[in-house]
């Protein structure tokens, strides 16, 4: 695949960390993404919101290489990465977490993080070294960062749900991503826990200068941390802007923020 260096149209704007140009994806007759264009500046903490079936998951899966887009291009710091495989994108600095918590349940918390560190340092193939004593200090530092240091020898599968989410964050951070995609990072949590959890991610992202893009259903969480919001609706970008702009947007209000329970049920049925 050729690597195309490309500059944005407007030379005054610095090259975004992530540039999505007119992305399109269909599944049979269903248009999941339609002409989606998003630019993400370094250091952003961008929320992508929208009703179920709006295309959030498809967008994430396309950005991380699980789906190939039918149309459009994706650039990471100016380098075209359209259609790359998940592992290639991960090596280019695209990290992610999953809506359904994805840890290695039969391994300890420390081992979970070590595996990610070993993958990042390109040592996964090593057949003769003792994995147990490799990159322990770094792994502990990461567990410390997410507050799981005292759980290092516990099997990941036996951790509480919230702790598994934090472990997954440590795993994702271990690969030192430039861009981190969080797919519903607070799914399955109690309301209070959600805000605490996203605040932790937000604080860490600030500290290490990480650019984050996340999907979220809880508007309290979104408005608490998002630096900007992109609203997707039926595969298209319906609105984009600062949180207060999006909140004030009447169209967004109609289709999403102000939706009544019955509208929501209808959405669910359609999705």
């Amino acid at each position: 695949m050729s690597v195309t260096e490309s500059r944005p149209d407007d030379a005054a704007v610095p090259e975004p960390l992530l540039r999505i140009e007119a992305l399109g994806k269909r599944f049979g007759g269903l248009v999941a993404l339609d002409n989606v264009t998003i630019r993400l500046q370094p250091g952003e903490f961008r929320a992508v919101i929208g009703p179920n079936g709006a295309g959030k998951s498809t967008l994430f899966n396309t950005l991380t290489g699980l789906h190939r887009p039918d149309l459009g291009r994706v650039f990471l710091s100016g380098t075209e990465v359209t259609g790359r495989t998940p592992h290639a994108l991960a090596r280019l600095g695209v990290g992610r977490t999953f809506q359904i918590t994805s840890v290695f349940s039969a391994l300890t918390s420390l081992e979970n993080v070590q595996i990610a560190l070993l993958a990042h340092s390109g040592r996964s193939w090593n057949v003769l070294a003792w994995a147990r004593s490799m990159q322990v200090t770094q792994a502990r530092a990461l567990l410390d960062l997410v507050g799981l240091r005292d759980r290092e020898s516990q099997l990941a599968g036996t951790l509480a749900h919230g702790d598994q989410k934090r472990l997954e964050l440590a795993i994702a951070l271990a690969t030192e991503p430039k861009l981190l995609l969080l797919d519903e990072p607070t799914a399955g949590m109690a309301a209070r826990e959600r805000l605490e959890s996203i605040a932790l991610v937000h604080r860490i992202a600030r500290e290490i200068g990480l650019t984050v893009i996340f999907t979220e259903h809880d508007m309290a969480v979104v408005f608490a941390v998002a630096s900007a919001i992109t609203v997707l609706h039926q595969g298209r970008v319906l609105a984009e802007g600062l949180p207060e702009e999006v909140r004030a947007n009447p169209v967004v209000h109609d289709v999403y923020l102000g939706e009544t329970p019955s509208d929501y049920a209808a959405e669910q049925e359609r999705a």
Partner: protein, 304 residues
């Protein structure tokens, strides 16, 4: 490794070293079989226990290793050492080809594809009579003078299998093995960490094939013969039963499984022609009473 574990391994090593030497040639032959099948079951468990890949065609690589030795020695007059060296190589090359296609699939589809390739090899072994002797197999393979004595060959096999199992131990505790376990638990997660998971599984398949081939080669040189039945689909069940019996999630589990299996088979088949009935009953009882295997623990954790 803890001190207790080290002690247990030392005692086991001493037993393996001296016990069969006091026995007659028959039991020495059985001990060789147990060692060979221990290595075979270990190679299988690299796929299932560590990689979560249930191969239903693992006998292909055991059989190909054995046929590699048989054909090289009987038809091409190759020397013993070259033939033995070729066994894992032949198996690894075949596993590389089969694995290339098989690791694209998972679960039952992976099992079916490995099974289909095995049937292919079986048919070739049966029909390519000029090379393989067809139904009659290859007989009359001889070991060099120094290894003719079953007791000496036992020690030789012990040395090779110990070396191979030691190497497997290093591998499963290396980043390679840790990553493999992670793939077993959640392949997608590992992929998004930047690991080419399919290539990782493919390499695992090749390594497992190589060790199975080595086991097959050693066994052919123990019996002095190779038969197409070793490549038959029922032969692929043997390492599965041994590994499950001993414990999939414990490193030494398949060794215990292989020794119990070979021991039971030998003792019971010496007493009754209905031995499969008794074998089956005992294995069912063991699996029900010890769900994690003979060496298994209830936590379900892969031992270190």
């Amino acid at each position: 490794m803890s001190r207790t574990k080290l002690g247990l391994w030392s005692v086991a090593a001493l037993l393996f070293l001296v016990a069969p030497l006091g026995l007659g040639a028959f039991w020495q032959f059985i001990a060789i079989e147990a060692l060979v099948f221990a290595l075979y079951a270990m190679s299988f468990n690299l796929l299932l226990g560590y990689g979560g890949m249930l191969s239903f065609g693992h006998a292909a690589y055991f059989g190909l290793g054995a046929y590699g030795v048989g054909i090289l020695m009987a038809k091409l007059s190759a020397p013993f050492w070259l033939a033995l060296l070729a066994a894992p190589v032949v198996a690894a090359v075949s596993a590389a080809a089969v694995g290339y296609f098989s690791v694209r699939l998972t679960g039952i589809y992976f099992a079916m594809l490995t099974f289909a390739f095995q049937m292919l090899f079986f048919t070739v072994a049966l029909k390519a009579t000029v090379l393989t002797g067809g139904d009659d197999g290859i007989v009359g393979l001889t070991r060099p003078g120094i290894l003719v004595d079953p007791a000496v060959y036992y020690l030789f096999v012990l040395f090779i299998t110990a070396l191979a199992i030691g190497l497997l131990y290093r591998m499963v505790n290396a980043p390679f093995g840790q990553t493999l376990r992670a793939i077993r638990d959640n392949a997608r997660r590992v992929q998004h960490l930047g690991v080419h998971t399919r290539a990782h599984c493919w390499l695992t398949f090749v390594i497992a094939g190589a060790f199975a081939g080595l086991a097959g080669g050693l066994f052919a040189l123990s019996t002095g013969s190779v038969f197409p039945g070793w490549l038959d689909w029922t032969a692929s069940a043997t390492p599965i039963v041994m590994a499950v019996l001993g414990g999939l999630r414990v490193f030494a589990g398949p060794i215990a499984g292989a020794f119990v299996f070979v021991g039971l088979e030998t003792v019971i088949s010496g007493h009754t022609e209905y031995w499969p009935l008794f074998m089956g009953t005992i294995i069912i009882a063991l699996v029900l009473l010890l769900p994690g295997g003979i060496l298994g623990t209830r936590s379900g954790r892969v031992g270190h």
